[in-house]
Amino acid sequence: MARARWAYLDRVLNRTGPFTDPDWVPGEAPLESLLRAKILVIGAGGLGCEILKNLALSGFTDIHVIDMDTIDVSNLNRQFLFRQADVGKPKAEVAARFVEKRVRGVRITPHCCKIQDMDEDYYMKFSMVICGLDSIEARRWINATLVGMVDADDPDSLKPLVDGGTEGFKGQARVVLPTMTSCIECQLDMHAPRAAVPLCTLATIPRQPQHCIEWAQIIAWEEERKDDVLDTDDPEHVSWLYSKALERANEFNIPGVTYSMTQGVVKNIIPAIASTNAIIAASCCNEAFKICTSSNPFLGTPESTNYMMFSGDDSIYTYTFEHLKKDDCPVCGNLARPLEVNPEITLREFIESLAERPEAQLKKPTLRSEAKSLYYQSPPQLEEQTRPNLDKKLSELVSNGEEVAVSDPAFQIDFKFKLVFKS
């Protein structure tokens, strides 16, 4: 392959710099890592378009992208891989084709689905995951999945997670090394809560046009159209909310309710800023490149910084710091330990054995699997409902290899065990 095009990259890969690790050997090896790396990009929206373009122009050649959405006309101002004619088509596919056409030698495999549709075998194939998402729920899911995949005996099972996020002029880039450094769940309180107006303000003394729209959505809809599920993508639904909000605004002499404001409020749209996306995506891809090639110290190195926040609200400000791992994090605080059990013992006997295990010594354990509440000590009604399980055999309640989570009021942290049946 003609390397001439990559001359600027090779300058970083072919020689050491002031910050490179003394053990790092420039030349073939880092280039090889870059060419062999298989990268998963989650999201092909505002951040995703930037990330895909940046990765392709940074010399990555094997990229997958997942996005469940189709292109909307309102995306076109900043999601630059899409054109008017693409409206309605799947984002992942259009973005992949566009970048493949513009950057020779890159292969992008699109998937138009939810991340939850893919299993661990799929995620295991990648070297690294980069997220450009707008949903906290999706971030928590991929984070828990990657943490759960880590196998101490297999270094390949550790997939660095690079996460970018933007909201208006603010953004963040962070790197998680699952189980080694603070994870998305540890950092849950870093997400700004959705600004909410007290319900009573909406119900009695609206002051702003937005209050009237929220009133239409929360109160009027429930009163008059309870049986329809509100679909904020359905123009008829939004029009209905708009007319209700307008009526209410007139009643209180509040000017300013418009259709597009209604759309913005009900879909909780915060105007996306193209330049914020560009800055955050650039930071994410820069970190991905450094992690992959080891050419320079990267964000997320254990015991160094792992979180870069950016604010463009009032001139420009960034701050990079180390967010510490939480010992009581429900995802990475206490990993599931394999525990050999006799499937023929009862749940009661199993709980008693937990009390005796030196590392646990649980006094009042409450436990469940993903599907089943096995035994709850509290509240009393749930205790009563789950009590019959105590005399059931483990084999009737869980399957071989299933994970159970154990909580105990005496401990801040939860314990997780993977029950392996003795044969």
Binding site: K38, R140, D189, E370
Partner: protein, 178 residues
């Protein structure tokens, strides 16, 4: 340094590992439930005991305007808990300044003041408090709040009538007395 993929990029075959894991929201609710203190005036009901994210809470105030009533609230918690607050609705039509005819509840920590450090106990204590001290300055039922503000005796009478399943203000209230 991470030399993760300096090694062979063999397709890792981890067979038979597709067991679902307990979710972070489930874990957090489990922890909250184990720390719940309901006292004698409250109890829970889980229509499906395996699903701890959906349940009803029954409050039977033993003092105040609402003494003797039995009030039910539906709790519905999504997978984004505790980032998102639990959704709480009163399942009966009751006369209360902070609860509307649809069962919406005006309690600050259910909406604008929710934080992930708060737990189910905080919400439950908040609900209980609404029955002991209805708050006329944050009304969802404006008429009821006006009455509470201007004449506590009338308010008390209205509450009793509504709790007995009475009809006034054009509404049929649910009978919540035993």
């Amino acid at each position: 340094m991470m030399k993760i993929w300096s090694m062979q990029q063999a397709e890792t075959a981890a067979a038979g590992q597709k067991k679902k894991k307990v979710t972070a929201a489930q874990l957090r609710v489990q922890k909250d439930l184990s720390e719940l203190s309901l006292g004698s005036t409250m109890r829970t009901h889980f229509p499906n005991p395996d699903d701890i994210l959906n349940f009803t809470l029954t409050i039977e105030p033993d003092e105040g305007f609402y003494k003797g009533g039995t009030f039910n609230f539906n709790f519905s918690i999504n997978q984004n808990f505790p980032h998102d607050p639990p959704k709480v609705k009163c399942t009966q039509k009751i006369y209360h300044p902070n609860i509307d005819m649809e069962g919406n509840v005006c309690l600050n920590i259910l909406r604008e003041d929710w934080k992930p450090v708060l737990n189910l106990n905080a919400v439950i204590v908040g609900l209980q408090f609404l029955f002991l001290e209805p708050n006329a300055s944050d009304p969802l039922n404006k008429e009821a709040a006006e009455v509470l503000k201007s004449n506590r005796e009338t308010f008390k009478r209205n509450v009793r009538t509504s709790m007995a399943g009475g009809h006034f203000l054009g509404e049929n209230f649910h009978r919540v007395l035993k």
